[in-house]
Amino acid sequence: MQYTIFLFGLNHKTADVEVREAFALADGGVLERALVTRESPIREALVLSTCNRVEILVSGSPASEAASLVLSRWAGHCNRDAASLAPHIYVHSGTDAVEHVFRVASGLDSMVLGEPQILGQMKDAYRRAVSNGATGVILNRLLHKAFSTAKKVRTATGIGASAVSISYAAVELAKRIFGETAGKKAMLIGAGEMAELAATHLLTSGISHLFVANRTFSRAQELAERFHGTAIPFEDLAEHLPEADIVISSTGAPQAIIRARDIKDVLKKRRQRPMFFIDIAVPRDIDPDVNSLDNVYLYDIDDLREVVEENLAQRKEEAARAGEIVREQVESFSHWLKALDLSPTIVDVLRYGEDIAKRELCKTLRRLGPDVPPETAKALERLALSISHKILHEPIVFLKRRSRENAGERFLDLIRRVFDLDKESVPEDAHGRGANEPACDCEDEISNKASASCVPTSSRN
């Protein structure tokens, strides 16, 4: 029996904030359990819900009812109509779905290209799905492959470095201005992925307190809770501004929300202590005039990008290389998925035994010398082959019996791994990593840090 992987989702490109908020799944685990039932055609499910995307990944029989089932359950969970959801979503199946998952994990589908936070959120969602028992052999394999692909993309291309380095550059600049960031207070105005990332970096560099102002107050509260900060209503922004040394702004406001004349008053209240504004919103939230004030420094995302010397062409090139890595990994995964069926596995197991028998036969014949009569050689060959067939007989009977059961692919996968039929139990680079190990570790550390204090949206509330 063959399985198909489906992916249903919406993201910042297909749906605007209101839609994303309406269809966000605060607790993905509930939907996962509802999808994976005994009579459902869906065998495995994983729900990933962040502020920028909702992705529902399922595997099951290639029947078309899976799509309508997922959509109606999804909309039902959000108390909405499935029809209002339909125009905003994308559906991928088979290798397209696999590629999409790999791209999301690598941050290639993110608003900030290559940002590492999504990987942490995906890992958290996967961990929850596993503990719910919602995943099986296919999604397990798919997600593990997605994580290793993301790591490969991050180490082999500079794509992850750029997203990290922008917030790194912001922290570095803050250090140039304030000496040390320890004990300084920061404020987030609006809260996108990048703002969260920058806030995370600032917090690890020793910021003492974080204010969060957001138009949707509940979202501000969520974030404030996560970073142990204070949520403030958007209207009270001006009141709290004098307390903030570093301000990160990323609202979706169509025009500037902070102007030079507002900041003049703020500075008076602060007795001219310096302020550092980081504006990562497009269009910009903070009037560029602000930079002309004494003791005020304003950087927008392009300035920061320039600081880390990142040009667009280079980024595109990196993205193309990352895309290549993703495609390679998709191919290798598809190969595994195709082979995860009874007859190819039996063929592979038998061939595995025959290969060993033939290798050993060659060795023995060489040792016996050139004057072995042909009938002896023939007999030896028969002996070797039949031993290998006899030994493999029981495993094959076991497979045939078990693969008719529910979740039989588990045993197919087990046998494939026991005999290493996909030749990949040991990564190719497992022994040759010495040269770039420090870089890799460092990257890991950064992404770990970035995701350390970030719980995915799905498990908030």
Binding site: I177, Q272, P274, D294
Partner: protein, 274 residues
């Protein structure tokens, strides 16, 4: 070669190597070179102190009458302030300013020759106060000027969003520069005031006149007013950053003018030459 000369040459050599090594250390990003330069500067400073002490002990009467002693003393107090700032703020960058300046002053202390006769009341309390506080204050101003220049340089780079490379990267933060300015202003202004007042009192005792329209006195009053403005704005109006950096640079440049130009080219009773 006399021991005095030897000591003098050793001080020059140590200051010179300290300066050069520090510059190279900054340019080549070599931490060891910079560390060696600190050691050279500290050793030079110790020998310099010994030098001053020896000349005071041996011929206290005539030393106090010689201009070169005061130049040497100014170089010494400059370095003293630098070491203090370095210890408190980790601002080794000021070494770039302090060590060449101290070297020049120390060298010129040998160039300015010739004793001159001063009144007997000279060794009194007021004279000591006058010289000591003014020299410390000018040393503080030199540091404020140096950190002000550093502040303006770095601030410009950050404002114009230039990429910080090499030298700019090795600089301390804007807030450290500003703190150096604050210390120099809060410490320097009272010292300058003490120096000025004690000078006038001493003049009253010596010449029976508080103010004699000496060019140096006029400039000193002007500097004091400017310094007072800076002190006031800094402490009570909350000025900081660019404006105070510029003011400190102005005040220091004026004091240098009053010290060198007026001393050498204008008739004044503050002249070191007789």
């Amino acid at each position: 070669m006399t021991p005095d000369n030897l000591l003098f040459l050793a001080v020059i050599g140590l200051y010179l190597s300290g300066t050069v090594l520090y510059l190279l250390g900054v340019l080549w990003h070599a931490q060891t070179l910079r560390r060696v330069s600190y050691i050279a500067a500290i050793a030079g400073f110790i020998l310099h102190s010994a030098c001053l002490g020896l000349s005071l002990r041996e011929e206290a009467g005539t030393t106090l009458l010689r201009g070169e002693f005061y130049f040497s003393l100014l170089a010494w107090s400059l370095l003293l302030i630098f070491f203090f700032l370095w210890w408190r703020l980790r601002m080794d960058f000021l070494g770039l300013l302090a060590s060449p300046l101290a070297l020049i002053l120390f060298l010129s202390s040998q160039a300015v020759g010739g004793a001159r006769q001063l009144p007997e009341t000279l060794a009194g309390l007021f004279f000591g106060l006058h010289i000591g506080s003014l020299f410390l204050s000018i040393s503080l101003l030199a540091m404020a000027c140096g950190s002000g220049a550093g502040y303006l340089f770095l601030e410009r780079k950050i404002k114009t969003k230039e990429k910080l490379t090499g030298f700019a990267r090795a600089l301390p933060s804007l807030s450290s520069f500003d703190r150096a300015n604050q210390w120099a202003v809060t410490g320097g202004f009272p010292l300058y005031t003490i120096g000025l007042v004690s000078g006038f009192l001493w003049a009253k005792l010596t010449w029976q006149r508080i103010f004699s329209w000496d060019p140096k006195e006029v400039v000193a009053i002007f500097i004091w007013l400017l310094f007072a403005f800076l002190f006031h704005q800094r402490l009570f109006m909350g000025w900081r950053g660019r404006k105070t950096a510029w003011l400190a640079i102005w005040v220091f440049s004026l004091s240098i003018v009053s010290m060198l130009v007026i001393n050498f080219f204008m008739p004044t009773h503050h002249s070191f030459a007789s």
